[in-house]
């Protein structure tokens, strides 16, 4: 009697955790999409600061970061603060290091981070036209990412949650 009870309890736990994992993966997909959308808004704000207000990078990053808030906002503010400290570090180095230091809660893929680092490679360099084109190029990349994440959102959400439940059931049957 006790053995059956424990088996049932174990099976329930496996199914619950596996289902939870599935739903968590589905939520991560949505969170990833939200983060990239928020990043796009921030880049648009940054473009406005640079192209229309002619603000230097320190000012543009600080203002955009404070306005946006959250993990990504903190990244922008941290970059601005390091540049203001004038520690003889090139912008690209500061930018790369701060992206690597992003907390795990910020839901960005390895590829997203690589693209974001690419934006910093030419930022600040040469004239205003160059800044605008560089930002527009990155915005195109973001649009592609957002398009992909949106297109597959429903299908992936369903897939992850179903896989979670089915995987739990499968494991339970195998272990029974």
């Amino acid at each position: 009697m006790d053995r059956t009870y424990f088996k049932l309890l174990g099976a329930a736990l496996v199914i619950i955790s596996s289902t939870g994992l599935g739903f968590y993966m589905a939520a991560q997909w949505t969170e990833h999409l939200k983060t990239v959308e928020r990043l796009k808004k921030m880049i648009l704000l940054l473009k406005g600061e640079i192209v229309y207000a002619n603000s230097p990078l320190t000012e543009a990053f600080e203002r955009t970061g404070k306005k946006a808030g959250g993990g990504m906002g903190d990244l922008f503010v941290a970059v601005a603060e390091r540049l203001i400290r004038q520690q003889a570090e090139p912008f690209f180095t500061v930018w790369q290091e701060e992206i690597d230091n992003l907390p795990k809660e910020v839901c960005l893929s390895k590829e997203d981070k690589q693209n974001l680092k690419g934006l910093g490679e030419h930022l600040g360099y040469l004239d205003m036209d160059m800044q605008e084109r560089n930002i527009l190029l990155y915005l195109e990349q973001l649009d592609l990412t957002i398009g992909y994440l949106r297109k597959h959102k429903q299908e992936k959400s369903r897939l992850y949650s179903t896989l979670g439940i089915m995987g739990g059931l499968f494991l339970t049957i195998v272990m029974y």
Partner: protein, 335 residues
């Protein structure tokens, strides 16, 4: 003093920063720091040119000098512009940028042209950092001449060759007129600071003291700025640096016809020099300016050589000066 040195050396590349950090002279007396790609690091200190050695010692021997590389100049440009060269696009077309603290960085390299003129500059291989000086009280000797009679301020033109302290004198004149001095209450002063040299505004806030009744239009072309100030801020006095173009002169006439008083500076060494300039000659002949203050660097930077009235009558002539410090602070100390 330390702050000024720190603020200044932070604009240089890492290696040059370390060398300048070892230099033990008073940075308030440093006039220029010059960098050239594959050339020696030079410093103009108390009117004398020195080579800067790697150990920070100022030397007259060229062999001691630290030689800057092209990459160091590139790095220096990145830090000088706050990692944002694009934000100085318009200034770069004119060959200089103004940084926090009001210091002017002259640059030269290969110019890129388009139909409208100079588009930008690349391969920047020559950098000249001209340090801005705020000398409170240096306008004290000229104030009695600027206040013609009663509380009336005269239209004044400060004539000076480059590096003789005309902007420094103008800055202190603005401060004293705005704050008010003994027997003369302060008045509203509008400043058009085209090159951010007078107020050295950083994010709109002046870093130099220009007085409590001063409004500054930063980075604005002088001609447009003078008109804008009159329409918007109703100043009693308008101050501008380095007038010379035809548009400037038209704006000057507009300002004077509006009942505002004008204080301006111009490059030159005498009234005759000014008469040689076609656009300025008219103003002199029409006796537009009521005071001409002529500066030179005899004995010290900012030496007030002569003062004339509108008819060309000499009101003041400086006695011969012994060679002295960059600015004689004690003599001009003014509370």
């Amino acid at each position: 003093m330390v702050e000024r040195k720190d603020e200044l050396i932070n604009i240089f590349s890492k290696d040059i920063r370390e060398i300048l950090n070892r230099v033990s002279v008073d940075f308030n007396e440093v006039q220029e720091i010059r960098l050239r790609a594959a050339g020696p690091l030079l410093m103009i200190y108390r009117n004398e040119e020195y080579y800067v050695a790697t150990n920070g010692v100022l030397s007259q021997e060229r062999t001691d000098a630290y030689v800057a590389s092209k990459n160091e100049l590139k790095e220096t440009m990145e830090y000088m512009s706050n990692h944002s060269l694009y934000a100085f696009e318009e200034e770069m077309k004119q060959g200089f940028i103004t940084i926090q603290g009001g210091h002017r960085i002259g640059i030269a390299g290969k110019t890129i042209l388009d139909e409208s003129g100079i588009k930008t500059m690349k391969y920047i291989s020559f950098i000249n950092v001209r340090l801005s000086h705020q000398v409170k009280g240096c306008a004290q000797p000229v104030l009695p001449y600027v206040y013609g009679g009663g509380n009336d301020i005269c239209h004044t033109l400060i004539i000076s060759p480059p590096r003789c302290g005309k902007t420094t004198l103008l800055r202190d004149l603005i401060r004293q007129i705005s704050d008010g001095v003994k027997d003369h209450p302060g008045v509203t002063v509008g400043v058009v600071d085209e090159r951010s040299e007078i107020g050295a505004c950083f994010q709109g806030v002046p870093q130099n003291e220009l007085g409590i009744r001063t409004d500054i239009l930063d980075c604005c072309p002088k001609a447009k700025g003078m008109m804008m100030l009159i329409r918007t801020m109703s100043p009693r006095v308008i101050a501008v640096d380095e007038i010379g173009s035809r548009e400037d002169i038209e704006a000057v006439e507009y300002v004077m016809n509006c009942g505002c008083k004008l204080i301006a500076t111009v490059h030159g060494s005498s009234i005759d020099d000014i008469k040689q300039k076609p656009v300025l000659r008219k103003l002199v002949e029409e006796r537009t300016f009521e005071r001409y203050i002529i500066l030179n660097s005899q004995g010290r930077i900012g030496n007030i050589d002569q003062i004339y009235d509108s008819r060309g009558t000499q009101l003041y002539k400086a006695p011969l000066q012994p060679v002295g410090k960059l600015w004689d602070r004690q003599e001009w100390a003014y509370g």
